[in-house]
């Protein structure tokens, strides 16, 4: 029972990071119907930036975290301006945007490689105080609690922003119909840029939390999570924020339980993607269907 409980905690945690990553991913998709394949590269750079700030600039993680998240958000603005905006008026904007985002991903990854090298880097010891609680045989660390708290906080803030804030309503309006939104006087380009900022900031935050927990950052750390993030948003329903959260948790749990039961990590991805395939057969539009961003 303890073993199962611990595995559920393990899965909940990794699922939370997946969810945070996927929420950013799905946000851009919900607004623009475009997949931003550079999202995983932003995830990586966010993590590495936090590492650099802690290691080279001597900041504490509490200062480095918001700064690195801001940096990731700015990367999102760069992405929008360089990779997406010039192509927006073209008839093949969905496809060409996809390709140019792949190019940006390669550029970002190569930059990271040049600055940090190909090997794994780690946060200096003591970056986060190590506190461990044991509740009836289940182990939870302070770091895990902090990470889950950060994930929940950001999710709630995002949902509230989309639901209540003026800019959130504008994002939903642009997602619903760009033409109509423009006619109503909404600065569509500005809203799209803001969406990229938000999406990339969340992606960067996920990268920092991922890096803090596993304490092994490298320029290619975004690769495995890129496909998983895609699977998570398909599972949750493309463009749906609550769907991405649900999908992330489901994916994390399925991974952990597969490894626990089979005793090997080889089947981990196979089971997760088979599950995805099965759900697609039953619910082609994902767990929470389509269009939820518009309704929020």
């Amino acid at each position: 029972m303890n073993v199962l409980g611990q595995q559920l905690v393990n899965g909940l945690f990794i699922g939370g990071v997946y969810a945070l990553f996927a929420v950013g991913y799905t946000l851009v998709f919900g607004v623009l119907d475009i997949l931003n394949l550079a999202h995983a590269a932003v995830f990586t750079l966010g993590g590495l930036m936090a590492l650099w700030l802690v290691q080279n600039a001597g900041l504490t993680i509490w200062t480095a975290f918001p700064l690195a998240v801001l940096f990731a958000g700015l990367l999102g603005l760069v992405l929008d301006q360089v990779a997406f905006k010039p192509l927006r008026r073209r008839p093949d904007t969905y496809f060409s945007g996809l390709i140019s985002s792949i190019a940006m991903a390669i550029i970002f990854e190569s930059l990271a490689m040049g600055v940090f090298g190909a090997h794994n880097s780690r946060f200096p010891a003591g970056t986060v105080p190590v506190v461990i609680w044991r509740l009836g045989g289940i182990t939870i660390t302070l770091l895990q609690v902090e990470i889950l708290a950060a994930v929940v906080l950001m999710m709630v803030a995002l949902t509230q922003l989309l639901k209540r804030a003026r800019v959130g309503k504008a994002i939903r309006a642009v997602a619903e119909n760009q033409h109509a939104a423009r006619l109503l006087g909404i600065n569509v380009d500005g809203i799209i840029a803001f969406t990229f900022f938000l999406s990339s900031a969340l992606g960067g935050a996920a990268g920092i939390l991922f890096g803090l927990y596993f304490d092994a950052l490298s320029p290619d750390m975004g690769r495995p999570i890129e496909l998983k993030g895609l699977a998570v948003i398909v599972l949750g329903g493309m463009g749906s924020v609550p769907g991405a959260i649900l999908g992330g948790l489901a994916f994390g749990l399925s991974e952990v339980l597969t490894v626990a039961i089979s005793g090997t990590s080889n089947l981990r991805d196979a089971v997760a993607f088979t599950l995805l395939f099965g759900i697609m057969l039953v619910r082609p539009s994902g767990l929470l269907g389509r269009g939820r961003l518009r309704e929020a």
Partner: protein, 382 residues
């Protein structure tokens, strides 16, 4: 006039050509210098190991040449990148053997590369000294292939015997990387050694290269309450496993036991306090009190800013072994005599301990069992 000028040009050109050719010719009468080809992985998957091998080898060359004095035999190491692939390994070997005409070859970094490249050296009767290949069947390729790296098949049974004798381990869990030749070989060696010592294996779990999350496997292991966790992994994964195990609350008195892959200062640096008590069977002990080893660790740390790992130590020892053999053979160009001299090396004082080659041309040095104590590898049970 113009004709004369043309003639002048032609003669200058031919003079220059002659000078170049003469300069390019090997000068047989020159004071003795032995060329050794070093095929290390500077790029690709094994780049991290190739880098410290190169450091260890160049340090040895510097010290040997400084000690040789004016008239003595000097060494010239030629470094080429085998790119962690067999194809490039073959190219590098062919260049060494046919173009550079080296006395012998040190390397390549990976066993996979050695399996094919060493055959070429054997065919052209060029001695090869492997310094990091631990797979089965490398020295069986032929009588020109030697190695100073102890195989997992020697190191691991020794480790298992030691933990059984000193800690009374009865039941263990096995965790290994199942998509890598080295970690799989380690797993098989552990399994055989455990069976021989009559230690029960509660469960076998595996992970894949590049994994970062080991908590599902470790949670299962924790639930089985083993006496020890036996682990075959390279240092990156090993660091993650060690720190996550302690974080999950697997008690410090359940030791994690690893092989050659664990024997790197990076393990202690990465895992920090969690690395305390980790038991590592290996070919080289960093804190060995041998004077030659103490000096090596000091010089290396001073020159490169980081302490050496086992790859650097084996490369350092390899260059010394090669130098002794070439010196004894008397002629850097007589490869057959160098081969003969290698087989006769005995009680050579190296950083790996007193060194000789077994009749099968494998390392005759003694494996060590170490434990991490106060952030250092010390001999286990002392």
């Amino acid at each position: 006039m113009s004709k004369n000028k043309g003639l002048f040009r032609v003669s200058v050109a031919s003079l220059a050509l002659m000078a170049l050719t003469a300069w390019g010719l090997p000068q047989a009468a020159e004071a003795a210098e032995a060329k050794i080809g070093c095929a290390f992985s500077m790029t690709g998957g094994a780049a991290a190991y190739g880098a410290t091998q190169k450091n260890g080898a160049s340090l040895a060359m510097e010290q040997i040449n400084a000690a040789a004095g004016a008239g003595g035999l000097k060494l010239k190491l030629l470094f080429e990148d085998d790119a962690s692939t067999p194809q490039q390994g073959i190219n590098v070997f062919q260049k060494f053997i046919n173009a550079d005409k080296v006395s012998m070859i040190i390397g390549p970094t990976l066993s996979n590369t050695a399996q094919v490249a060493d055959r070429i050296a054997q065919q052209s009767k060029t001695p090869v000294l492997a310094i990091s290949n631990t797979a089965q069947g490398i020295t069986e390729i032929g009588d020109y292939i030697f190695r100073d790296s102890l195989t997992e098949g020697v190191v691991i049974p020794n480790t298992i015997k030691a933990i059984k004798a000193k800690l009374g381990i009865k039941k263990v869990a096995l965790l290994y990387g199942n998509d890598d030749a080295f970690t799989k070989a380690g797993y098989q060696a552990f399994k055989a050694a455990l069976a021989e010592s009559g230690i029960q294996i509660l469960s076998e779990l595996s992970f894949a290269k590049g994994d970062r999350d080991f908590s599902p496997q470790l949670t299962q292991i924790k639930g089985m309450a083993p006496d020890a966790i036996i682990c075959s992994a390279l240092v990156e994964e090993a660091s993650g496993i060690v720190s996550q195990a302690r974080q999950l609350g697997i008690a410090q008195n359940v030791p994690i036991v690893g092989g050659n892959g664990f024997n790197s200062p990076a393990l202690i640096k990465n895992a920090g306090a969690a690395a305390e008590g980790v038991i590592v069977g290996a070919a080289w002990n960093a804190s060995s009190p041998l004077p030659v080893n103490k000096k090596f660790v000091e010089d290396y740390t001073k020159k490169f800013g980081t302490p050496p790992d086992q790859f650097a130590a084996q490369a350092f020892a390899g260059v010394h072994i090669a130098y002794q053999a070439i010196k004894k053979a008397g002629d850097p160009n007589n490869r057959a005599a160098i081969r003969e001299a290698l087989t006769q090396i005995k009680d050579l004082d190296t950083v790996l301990g007193p060194f000789y080659f077994t009749p099968g041309r494998d390392a005759g040095s003694q494996p060590v069992v170490q434990v991490v104590k106060d952030g250092k590898f010390v001999i286990f049970g002392m």
